[in-house]
Symmetry: C2
Subunit: 430 residues, 2 copies
């Protein structure tokens, strides 16, 4: 865990408004999204709160927030109904009247007409904005966002639905906050696969404990760890000069476990790029993951050139019929064995006439485990142009967790196999 | 959105402690979990907060919480490191000393020894508990939970990791809170598929707007809507007598769209049960969903008796080769067409020798859309014992959203086909 709280002037506080959050109807993903963006900007966030659509409690919370934070971000409660009172309450504590914004009214009308939805009197409420504010027009909904400034306080109101909040934040709020931050903040993300969070953290504990600028923060994902290096400086170049030696140090420590330094690139995209560079076709042969591995690869647009088909062979019969796994192997070693995984990988590549095949077979549970083959035991094998790469893994957790981790490991194994092939062909590393 | 805030004495407030939440490293799923459980218990929650591992700010927040709420639930900050100060801070505001709990010390030792982990001096810090508290022993980690009572205030401390918090809450905190609630709270969940959230809400708006006891709250899931009916009464039977007419009314309004009234049953489990009751085997033929549909069906333990294999046919060649889709159909109507979906369903059932086959083909985007076949257009067809059920859907959103919604719709279509078959065979409804 990274402590990066600073007691300086520019602190951000987040208030999410919505009774549905207090009832647990939805998970507050907006909070994590906004918090991560603020951390990227080097802005300290000390408090997040959730309140219902209750103007009294919201007003009280806003007043407390104004005493302790300089930037207050609110999400939710900008809808057209009588219950939505965030704008009215925020305007009141900022001593502003609400006035109609002509462009907002026009955009609401266009938005609803385009979708063939009838316009009710309620909708015009959404065109009202506090006087002297900056309006954040909303291409994905009818609630405009709002920025108000008063003395040292900045208040930013955002609509609650993530498909409206996220683009509005990225396109309009992020640049606004960026300008407030007197220093330039730059960050770089390196993404690792094939290493657990605690092992990754242990490897860089010395960096984390002594860091001031730049900082390194680990973000745990299923089967992956992402490390963000963030630096503050007077110029972008100065910031990158601070980042570079840390990045080099991370590369030295983690080597080929780093699959990308592009925040937009997922593990399946990294695999896709390797396949593309090497003109390789791939197929999948899945037992316990039952389609989830192919499902992730097919997340990548454009993979159709490389992945034509995949096999879900949940039963022994299907392993024999579709992948030509010899009956003797299944009998002698069982469906969950290195031998079966390898036969699946070889057989899959042959059946699909593909250069590469990754195969997974395991005990996902909750039943079916034995002393020799407990729940969570998963074998995976990757056939790549004549070579086999085989792995045995033991996971814990629920059936779905075991399957998710298996998919992440299988993608990691696939990446390693294709990378080693690249290496051999080109005589160079990843 | 349901407003169910009541200004009575028993209000719960949630405080999640963790700098990783303020940095957006993780999403606060604990908050949604605890909030939903409290709502089920009929306890009102007016505030949720997040603070970092900062004793000053936590103490201030605890004092505010004690003024406005009677039950304060804290999560996180019970770890063994110097940063973890939730217990120390909570004990201070409750005026308690920390003392060692013998059983907690013993359990910590056993927990770590069993896993071959070395015990450091830090670990013994976790065996300290406030005097006169109720200790919540933790089978899944080294941090015990704590309940303190003082006058009208009840403070409950829980470990942050969900795999420790969830079982501790369910087994120990839920029964404790249940006893606090003078009335009996009962709830019933009905789960719908094949209807959107707003349509479902519109259909019961009159019930929602006039409700007091019982209440109906909709929970939106991908391609599903869950409706929870909650009643308060003096006895369990009286509560169920209040629930029953509402449940009947929901059944009248939603009919076969209701797939279960068991909160533990997922859509894929409902499908599995129908397959099992009718001794039917099933297979999948997936283009744009590329394995995700089979992946969800294989979430159900025990489905291996009914699903032996599945096909991922992303290319036209694979559709011809594995599913025997006639070349002419692909040429005349294209891969994304009702005709191709039907040929995939029929061909898949034949290839796998299965009674049922559900097929999906569509444009998941972001590229590949045309004016006639835009991104988000997805055809699905279910072959069931000689009959074909075919559907055309138009989704919006990202590639992954389109694929997720397609899977939910395909499961819904599969359920409908098998249910109609059941109906014909048995001469009765779902």
């Amino acid at each position: 865990m990274i402590i990066r709280e600073r007691d300086d002037d520019m602190t951000v506080e987040l208030i999410c408004v919505g009774t549905e959050l207090l009832l647990g109807n939805i998970v507050n993903t907006n909070a994590a999204f906004i918090a991560e963006k603020c951390a990227m900007l080097g802005l300290s966030m000390f408090y997040q709160s959730v309140v219902g659509d209750n103007p009294g409690r919201l007003e009280e919370l806003l007043k407390t927030a104004m005493e302790r934070s300089s930037v207050i971000i609110l999400s939710g409660g900008l809808g057209p109904t009588q219950d939505d009172l965030t704008k009215e309450t925020a305007a009141r504590v900022m001593h502003r009247e609400l006035v109609e914004d002509v462009r907002a009214r026009q955009e609401i009308q266009e938005f609803l007409e385009k979708r063939g939805r009838s316009i009710t009197d309620n909708n015009w409420k959404q065109a009202l904005v506090p006087e002297n504010c900056q309006v954040l027009y909303n291409a994905n909904g009818t609630a405009p966002g709002i920025i108000m400034e008063e003395g040292q306080t900045r208040m930013i109101l955002l609509p609650g639905p993530p498909n409206e909040l996220i683009p509005m934040f990225e396109e309009q709020v992020y640049p606004y906050l960026h300008k407030l931050q007197p220093e330039i903040i730059c960050s770089k993300m390196v993404k690792l696969c094939g290493i657990g969070e605690s092992s990754a953290e242990t490897k860089i504990l010395d960096l984390i404990e002594t860091q001031t600028n730049p900082t390194v923060a680990p973000y745990a994902k299923t089967g992956e760890v992402h490390l963000r290096i963030t630096a503050k400086a007077e110029s972008e170049q100065a910031a990158y000069e601070l980042i570079m030696p840390v990045e080099e140090e991370l590369r030295r420590r983690f080597g080929n476990l780093i699959y990308t330094d592009d925040p937009e690139v997922t593990l399946e995209m990294a695999v896709f790029r390797l396949l593309k560079e090497n003109h390789l076709t791939v197929t999948t042969a899945e037992s316990c993951t039952g389609g989830l591995l192919a499902g992730r690869l097919i997340n990548v647009p454009g993979i159709s050139e490389h992945l034509k088909e995949g096999y879900i062979t949940y039963s022994n019969e299907a392993k024999e019929k579709l992948l030509h796994v010899p009956e003797e192997i299944l009998k002698e070693y069982g469906a969950v064995s290195a031998q079966t995984a390898e036969a699946m990988a070889k057989g899959g590549a042959q059946a699909a006439d593909a250069d590469v095949c990754v195969a997974v077979t395991g005990v996902a549970g909750p039943d079916g485990g034995t002393k020799e083959k407990p729940v969570g035991l998963v074998y995976m094998s990757c056939y790549c142009k004549g070579k086999l790469y085989t792995e045995k893994n033991q996971y814990s957790g629920s059936r779905s967790k075991i399957r998710e981790y298996s998919v992440a490991s299988a993608l990691t194994l696939l990446r390693r196999a294709v990378a080693e092939y690249t290496n051999e062909v080109n005589g160079c590393g990843l």
